[in-house]
Every structure is written in C-alpha cells, then in structure tokens.
C-alpha cells in the first residue's frame, strides 16, 4: 500500500464521549484500583509510627501520648482527612461492588445485564457514601 493515515491516539481518546458502560466500568475500576494500592502504601507508612510507639513507656501509651496515637488522632482531627476518607470509602465501595460485578462476569453469570449492574454499582456506591457521611464526620472540628 502506498500510504495510509493513522489517526493516532489523540483521536482514540477524544472519543471518550462515545464510550459505553463496559468501558466506563473498566476505567473506573482501574482508577479506583490504583487509588487503593496507593492508599495501601500510605496507610502502611502512617501505621509505621507504631514501630517507635512500641518503644515508648507504658504511661505514655496509656495516656495516648505515644507517637502512633497522636499521629492518627492528629490526622483524624483534620477535616480534609475526613473528606479524603469519605473519598476513600467511595473508591473502595465502588471497587468492591464493581469487583463483584467482574467476578460474576468471569463466572459467566448475568452477562446480558452487565450494563445494568454497572449502573447499580454506581448508584449503590453513591448511596453508601452519602449514608456514611455522618459517621465519618463525627467529632471533627471544622
């Protein structure tokens, strides 16, 4: 062939508006998965304060003045962190629900309603997140 035209990636991605349910599910699942693994690293980093805390005296620990307790409680005292936590919950819930949907797909169950189950995951995620807001915001100073 003499020559041909490659429309390239830009055009491919420019097409997101035309994506279907399954594609969105894939993108969201990817996104949430990456968030979660990212969080896992951070989480362990934060929890690592327990290494020093373990060395502190029992009094300090009992007074909850050890580095572990203060760090965690300090973080929990921040409104921003609470918001991020809600986000994390949403991310986790979506990843779980869609993960379940994917597991069903893998087992070949309910393939005809794969789009519906994706929408259901979204709606449920929203609902659960909203419902948990009060719990997540208790005891935080604004």
């Amino acid at each position: 062939m003499s020559q041909s035209y490659n429309r390239g990636l830009i055009e491919d991605f420019g097409r997101w508006k035309e994506f279907s349910a399954g594609m969105w599910a894939w993108i969201f699942h990817k996104f949430t998965g990456w968030m979660l693994i990212g969080y896992l690293f951070t989480h362990i980093a934060v929890l690592s304060t327990s290494i020093s805390a373990a060395g502190e005296s029992t009094d300090v620990i009992e007074a909850q003045n050890d580095i572990y307790s203060t760090t965690l409680q300090g973080l929990e005292g921040l409104f921003l962190i609470r918001l991020l936590e809600i986000g994390l919950l949403a991310v986790a819930v979506f990843h779980i629900l869609n993960g379940l949907r994917l597991l069903m797909v893998d087992l070949g169950i309910g393939l005809e309603s794969q789009d519906k189950s994706f929408y259901a995951s979204l709606v449920l995620t929203g609902a659960i997140t909203v419902a948990s807001v009060p719990t997540f915001l208790t005891g935080v100073g604004i």
């Binding site: 062939m1 020559q3 041909s4 279907s20 594609m23 894939w26 893998d106 393939l111």
Partner: protein
C-alpha cells in the same frame, strides 16, 4: 408488464433534472466538484425529505484530501434507507470518488462496517431513520485509513489466521464411506452463534485493549477459536492445543470484559461470554497441573 417499472427507488426520488444526468452539461459540471457548498446547493434543489450525512474523506494522492476532512451530502430520504444506501447515493449522484467497501447489501459479506455516529455499525444493516442527523460516517477506528471509509484490514486478517482457524480432525472416517461425523444438536447449538462471524472487524475496532496492544488476538479471532474449541467433533487433544494458543500473553487474558465488542457485533455474537468461557476453560485445564 409496464407496471413492473414501479421500483421503490423511483417512487420518492424527486424530479431533479441534474440527477437524470447526461442531457444537461450543467449537471455534469456539478457532479465533478465534490466540494462542500455544492452539495448544500444541490440539497436545496431537492424537494422532499433529505438526509444530511457527513462523511470522512482522505486520499493520500489527492490534494485537499491528504489532510482528512468531512464532506457534507444531502441525499433524498426513502423509507427503509440504510446508511449504505445513503453513501451509495452520494457516490453515484454527487461524487464518484467517494470510496467504501460494500458488496452483499444484506449483512453477510462483512465489508461495510463503518463508524457511524460514534459506534461501529454495518452500513447495510443500519436504518438511517434510526440515527440522529447529521449522520457522521467515519472509517473504523484503530485501523489505518487507506482512503475515505476504507481501512487496512490486513492486521485483522492476520489475527484471525493466528488461531489456526480451521477444523483439525483426529480420525474422520474416509469420505467414500459417506459417513459424517456425529454431532449432537446441543453441541451444534453451542457453537451456533460463534460460527456466524462475518469478519467485519467491528468488534476489534471497538475494543480499547486491542487498540492499546496491537498483538492482542482480539474478540473476533478468539471467537473463531471458540467455535473450534467447543466443537465436540475435534478431540480433547486438539482442544488443549487450541487453549494453549489462546492462553498466550496476547490471548484471552488481555480481555478486560469491556463488552463493547459484544455491543457492536452485527451478528449478535456474545463475544465477551465466549471469551470468558475460554478463560475458565483455560484455568480449569491449568489447575490440573497444580
């Protein structure tokens, strides 16, 4: 006898002298053009309902088409008109250089999968009245464009060929015995859908994974393999061999169950389901060795 002339084509086509052709030299000139405003003018001449289509144009050899553009055409609407009918009309009446593959007009040859209003569809099987106007008609995404709506299908064919797409027999009786191999109705039913593929390439074009990984076998080829792997007439050994092909790096595991292949397949083949079933078969087979 004479009543036979009443072909549907002529029923609604308005009396447009330009469309009749040769008699008027002016009409000839108009035809040559192929420029956007001319088509618009032309549309004004047409009475009755018209359909507005925007068609992707590209030709490496023709100035003005080397940089892709969209051309507008207004074609007279007829009941039952398909997307393919509309581009054929535009080609025959306005611009003979408008290029696309097509042949059977009945969804069996698989030549005319286009990207129509953002979805892979068979031109001949898509009623234009079901679409929002202007109808945007582009070549299949993720394949190189040869010219206008024609894409390079070689890669698709290559992928189809890698799955050893032919029946492999272990011990078929000699032909002169006139004995066929037996196959149960259930088994034939199981492979029925998979055997319908017309190699149109719509599925492959719609798959993001195939776009990202050029070596991914793709839904059509995997489905082709499914047809053989699930056919009881081929023995267990060959089935294992087929699964080994499918299990490669760029085989079934690449599929991320995006379902777009299943959604666009004009033959309604449950592609994702078939791919998933093969994944499970492969896991089952592998578990044996643990």
């Amino acid at each position: 006898m004479s009543t036979q002339q009443a072909e549907p084509e002529s029923q609604e086509a308005p009396e447009d002298p330009a469309m009749k052709g040769a008699e008027s030299p002016a009409a000839e000139e108009q035809k040559g053009g192929g420029m956007v405003d001319e088509h618009a003018e032309k549309a004004a001449e047409l009475e009755g309902e018209t359909v507005h289509i925007k068609v992707f144009r590209y030709d490496p050899e023709v100035e003005g088409k080397q940089e892709p553009r969209f051309d507008d055409f207004h074609v007279p609407f007829e009941k039952g008109m398909t997307v393919l009918d509309s581009v054929m009309y535009a080609r025959d009446e306005y611009d003979s250089s408008l290029t696309f593959r097509h042949s059977c007009r009945q969804a069996v040859c698989g030549s005319d999968a286009f990207f129509v209003n953002g979805k892979q569809r068979l031109g001949c099987k898509t009623q234009i009245s079901d679409l929002e106007q202007p109808v945007r008609i582009e070549p299949l995404p993720h394949q190189e464009v040869v010219k206008d709506l024609v894409v390079d299908m070689d890669h698709f064919y290559d992928q189809m060929h890698t799955v050893e797409p032919y029946f492999q027999d272990e011990d078929t009786p000699p032909v002169d015995d006139l004995e066929e191999q037996r196959q149960s109705q259930e088994n034939r039913e199981k492979i029925k859908m998979s055997s319908r593929c017309i190699w149109c390439g719509a599925c492959m074009s719609s798959c993001n994974i195939a776009a990202g990984d050029n070596e991914y076998l793709g839904p059509a080829a995997i489905n082709k393999a499914y047809k053989f792997a699930m056919d009881d007439r081929e023995g267990e050994e060959i089935k294992e061999h087929r699964l080994r092909i499918l299990e490669q790096e760029h085989g079934v595991w690449r599929c991320q169950t995006q379902f777009s292949c299943t959604e666009v397949c004009p033959k309604d083949i449950p592609l994702t389901e078939h791919i998933q079933e093969l994944k499970r078969e492969a896991v089952k087979k592998n578990l044996k060795f643990w």
